[in-house]
């Protein structure tokens, strides 16, 4: 039996927008709302180069990744052809206008996925070229 964890109200998510859900461990989960009040949850990480999907433009039942404009299906987390790849999806349960996510999934799903590192922290030390 899965335990549903209360996250927010549907109305806490902008129409055709998203919110980020922080987890104790692992990359955030993005919860999306379309214009039909459908709510979807995906790992907040594009299968292409790790862009935060929560920051993309939502249309129909898709989101466009903010980094390189890949189109990702909200229902399955998969890139629209000809691009290839999927991001993990999370189960969503909406009851009486309240959005719930699965506690087990939140605690265990996609913990192995690494966040993208930028800036000086992500740099290889430069080694001098020796003749």
């Amino acid at each position: 039996m899965s335990e549903w964890k209360k996250i927010c109200l549907v109305t806490d998510i902008p129409v055709l927008g998203a919110r980020r859900v922080a987890r104790p461990q692992g990359i955030d989960v993005a919860v999306f709302r379309n214009d039909q009040d459908g709510v979807f949850a995906l790992l907040d990480r594009c299968p292409h180069k790790g862009g935060p999907l929560s920051q993309g433009i939502v249309f129909g039942t898709s989101v466009a990744c903010p980094l390189h404009n890949w189109t990702i299906g909200l229902a399955d987390g998969c890139a629209k052809a000809p691009d290839e790849g999927c991001t993990p999806k999370f189960s969503v349960h909406v009851q009486a206008g309240v959005v719930h996510l699965d506690a087990t999934e939140l605690a265990t799903l996609a913990l192995d996925q690494r966040a993208v590192v930028a800036g000086p922290a992500g740099k290889e030390p430069v080694t001098a070229v020796t003749a």
């Binding site: 964890k5 996250i7 927010c8 806490d12 902008p14 129409v15 055709l16 927008g17 919110r19 980020r20 859900v21 922080a22 987890r23 104790p24 955030d28 989960v29 919860v31 214009d35 907040d44 180069k49 790790g50 862009g51 935060p52 920051q55 993309g56 433009i57 939502v58 249309f59 129909g60 898709s62 466009a64 903010p66 980094l67 404009n69 189109t71 000809p82 996510l101 939140l106 966040a115 993208v116 590192v117 930028a118 800036g119 000086p120 922290a121 992500g122």
Partner: protein
């Protein structure tokens, strides 16, 4: 118990490229709608007819040019009757009847019929045309016969000096035959090339070993005792011995069956914009056999556009119309680059610009009429073909670029692919697209393995040329060399995106003329196909409504790209960068102190000075943005927005011993007057205090250069992918005039520019003369534009502080906890 719904029956007559493409498109969107049956007269699955010439030349094998294998048909549950020719269609009973070579009859009923009978070669009606060794050049059987003949005989004659004839001649020559091309006209490929280019082509083909008989009219073919051709006789009485005659004098839409079915034919099977025959709505026709608005297209790209529309209609989506294509010819004959488009012959009232270097093997001719480019013919160097084609299609005035038109687009600052202009000479490992890191080998592989034919498809699959587009010419060359033939046909009108058939101009016009104030009202009014657009059209439409109706239309933050929604620039790790505004690039100790404190407090990893004389803080967490803005206490720099970014200035007369004008003050005044100004794309200004131009004003959207007697204004420069030097626009006397002229130009761009079009592209599209007319000649109009901009900007909020007024949804900055 599930109800068994009987599928409708779709029968396709003809198993060629356009037809099978239609099926592929149909199966993508409605895989289970039809039981599909295909009849093909040839005993082969669908193959790439364009690549028969490389097969003949021994460069490829038949297996390599198969587009859909036998397995494809069975996997998709498409019944293929290959080698069975349809001889009759009963439109009353809706039955197709075909016969096979053994005389067996196959009958299949249909609900929808797709006629893709293609075209047939035209055979000269001369005595001897039925002799052995006299063939056309159209299919695999012809190709095989030529290959076979080349092993047994020596001499060949090809009748026809068009593309097909030259390819056949070249192939036969490479197979060891002694080949003469017989052409009735005085120059080769007269439909694609003018006489100069045609003669250059002939010369270079002669150098490779082909022989030519020009202006020769065929009278008769004579045969030997075995009924095989032995010579060709001409009207002037001369004669040439030969063992093979290939007729390549043209093709005609194959309408024999359609006419027998009593479908209306006129230069092809006449179809509507939905590709339905006008006689019978159950019957569709695409490809070379179909006549759409009087034209039967023979190039792949338009046929594939037709396929898409027909499939859409067959899938009962009922959306999408085919409205015709403009085509260009870019041909590859034995390694010689040719391009032609439009009316390249010129004639009455047309002017020509010609560049001729016969020793270098380069010839270019541009034909201009009424100040517009109406035709182009390029030989030897075709890299600018797509540029000319675009000018041709857009129909813009070329008066202002006439002096450099001949040198094409690639002559100025074309970066990202090491200056290559000839794809053929690039190794597979060479990078073609510097934006997306795509090399030549990757593109070739994708074209071959995924069966790509058009530039759009290559862009979608490989991303090559999909970002800045500066390598488009190279990608087209690779496409041509790999997939063969043509690809560069384009719809006459470019739709904004796949959500609509309307172009940017039509959408802008409708918003203005009908006072549409919201995105949804635009979508409804213009009958958008999608409920809430896509990531491409929604930001554009949001910009159009807000810029057309300032103070009335409401901005929709969910229709803005993330940078404009969060008012900071997203970085590759999902953090943001913050660039505060520094008027004219001047700052103070207190500002710098606050910036330094913020860097420490929020542990911001990188601080960088930008090219526009501002300070960039990189790696700010989204949760920290609001506090970072507050602590810095400086206005938004809009470095994230399609808006006025920076006004770069030099020191100017206040300090500089060379300075003639106070450029820093002018820059500050411009920036204060126009900050918060959103546009179709980002806007950058610069002000220099003397002609030494230390602020680099020559590559900005608006560049102002102070001279002793006033200010010079330059517009539509660009320092990006294509470095474009700004055009001199006007010289004015006072700072007030600088503000007015700059503001008026910006407002014109804001009102008439297309979304994501920089000022350089906008001015290129409408022409510098048009901008001059609107701003320099029309004094009332200029003042009105400037006033309108001031009205639009008056009281506009600073999005870093006035969240409510700027429609900033602050919920985005907080994460929801999953406790």
């Amino acid at each position: 118990m599930g109800m068994h719904v009987k599928k409708q029956k779709l029968v396709m007559v003809g198993n060629g490229m356009a037809g099978v493409r239609t099926l592929e498109e149909l199966l993508k969107i409605a895989p289970d709608l039809y039981d599909i049956t295909v009849f093909g007269a040839e005993p082969h699955p669908n193959y790439n007819r364009i690549l028969l010439s490389p097969v003949l030349a021994g460069e490829q094998t038949l297996d390599e040019i198969i587009l859909n294998s036998w397995d494809w048909y069975s996997d998709k549950h498409v019944t293929l009757h290959a080698g069975k020719k349809v001889v009759e269609v009963d439109r009353i009973k809706r039955v197709v009847r075909a016969v096979d070579p053994e005389g067996g009859v196959t009958e299949v009923a249909y609900d929808r019929l797709l006629m893709c009978t293609g075209s047939t070669p035209f055979i000269l009606p001369v005595p001897g045309k039925d002799l052995k060794g006299v063939i056309a050049y159209r299919d695999i059987a012809d190709t095989n016969e030529m290959i076979d003949t080349a092993t047994k005989y020596k001499n060949a004659v090809v009748i026809g000096g068009g593309l097909l004839g030259l390819e056949a001649a070249n192939g036969l020559m490479l197979r060891g035959m002694d080949v003469t091309v017989v052409h009735v006209q005085s120059t080769l490929m007269e439909r694609q090339l003018d006489s100069v280019a045609g003669k250059l082509l002939q010369k270079s083909l002669e150098a490779r070993g082909l022989k030519f008989l020009m202006g020769a009219q065929t009278q008769e073919l004579t045969g030997n005792d075995e009924g095989r051709v032995k010579s060709i006789q001409f009207k002037d009485g001369t004669e040439l011995a030969t063992d093979l005659v290939v007729m390549a004098v043209g093709i005609r839409p194959n309408t024999q069956l359609a006419e027998a079915m009593r479908l209306h034919c006129n230069k092809g099977i006449v179809v509507s914009d939905t590709l339905q025959t006008i006689t019978d709505a159950r019957i569709y026709s695409v490809g070379e056999c179909a006549a759409h608005r009087g034209i039967a297209y023979g190039l792949v790209a338009p046929l594939f556009e037709q396929a898409k529309v027909a499939a859409n209609h067959l899938a009962q989506y009922g959306i999408g119309r085919y409205v015709g294509s403009l085509t260009s010819t870019k041909l590859k004959v034995t390694g010689i680059d040719l391009f032609s488009a439009g009316d390249f012959m010129g004639g009455e009232g047309a002017e020509e610009i010609v560049m001729s270097d016969p020793f270098g093997g380069v010839y270019k001719k541009l034909v201009i009429k009424d100040d517009k480019l109406i035709g182009a013919c390029l030989y030897g160097d075709t890299v600018d073909g797509s540029y000319y084609f675009k000018l041709l299609r857009d129909g813009r005035s070329v008066v202002d670029i006439r002096d450099k038109l001949m040198f094409g687009e690639s002559n100025i600052g074309d970066v990202g692919h090491e200056g290559h202009s000839k794809a053929a000479s690039m190794p597979d490992s060479a990078e073609v697209c510097g934006c997306n890191g795509v090399n030549k080998g990757t593109i070739c592989k994708a074209i071959k393995e995924k069966g790509l034919f058009t530039l759009d498809e290559v862009r979608k699959h490989t991303k090559a040329s999909a970002s800045c587009g500066s390598c488009t010419g190279l990608v087209e060359q690779i496409l041509m060399a790999t997939a063969g033939g043509d690809y560069s046909a384009t719809p006459k009108l470019k739709a904004m995106c796949s959500c609509t058939d309307h172009g940017h101009q039509a959408v802008r016009d409708a918003i203005r003329d009908n006072k549409l104030l919201t995105i949804s009202s635009v979508y409804k009014f213009m009958e958008w196909r999608t409920p809430n657009g896509c990531a491409s059209c929604r930001p554009a439409v949001n910009y159009y409504v807000t810029s057309s109706w300032p103070k009335e239309a409401r901005d929709d933050p969910q229709s803005r790209f993330i940078n404009e929604r969060s008012h900071a620039n997203i970085q590759k790790d999902g953090t943001y960068s913050v660039i505060p505004r520094m008027w004219g690039g001047e700052t103070t100790a207190s500002e710098l102190r606050r910036i330094a404190d913020v860097v420490d407090k929020y542990k911001i990893p990188t601080v960088k000075v930008t090219g526009g004389q501002r300070i960039d803080l990189l790696g700010v967490k989204k949760e920290d943005l609001v506090n970072v803005w507050k602590d810095i206490g400086m206005p938004s720099g809009h470095a994230y927005a399609k808006a006025l970014r920076t006004v770069k200035t030099c020191v100017g007369s206040e300090w500089c011993r060379m300075g003639t004008q106070d450029s820093t003050q002018m820059g500050k005044d411009l920036e204060r007057a126009m900050w918060r100004m959103y546009g179709p794309h980002k806007v950058k200004f610069a002000v220099s205090g003397c002609p030494r131009n230390c602020a680099e004003a020559g590559i900005k959207d608006v560049g102002i250069i102070g001279v002793d007697s006033g200010w010079e204004m330059y517009i539509a420069g660009n320092g990006g992918i294509k470095t474009e030097v700004a055009h001199f626009f006007v010289k004015v006397k006072t700072p007030a005039e600088v503000l007015e002229y700059t503001g008026a130009f910006c407002e014109l761009y804001r009102q008439e520019g297309w979304y994501l079009e920089r000022t350089v592209h906008f001015v290129n599209r409408v022409g510098l003369d048009y901008v001059k007319k609107k701003i320099l000649e029309d004094h009332e109009g200029r003042k009105a534009l400037w006033e309108r901009l001031q009205f639009a900007l008056d009281g506009e909020p600073d999005p870093w502080f006035d969240f409510k007024e700027a429609e900033v949804d602050t919920r985005q900055f907080e994460k929801l906890p999953a406790l």
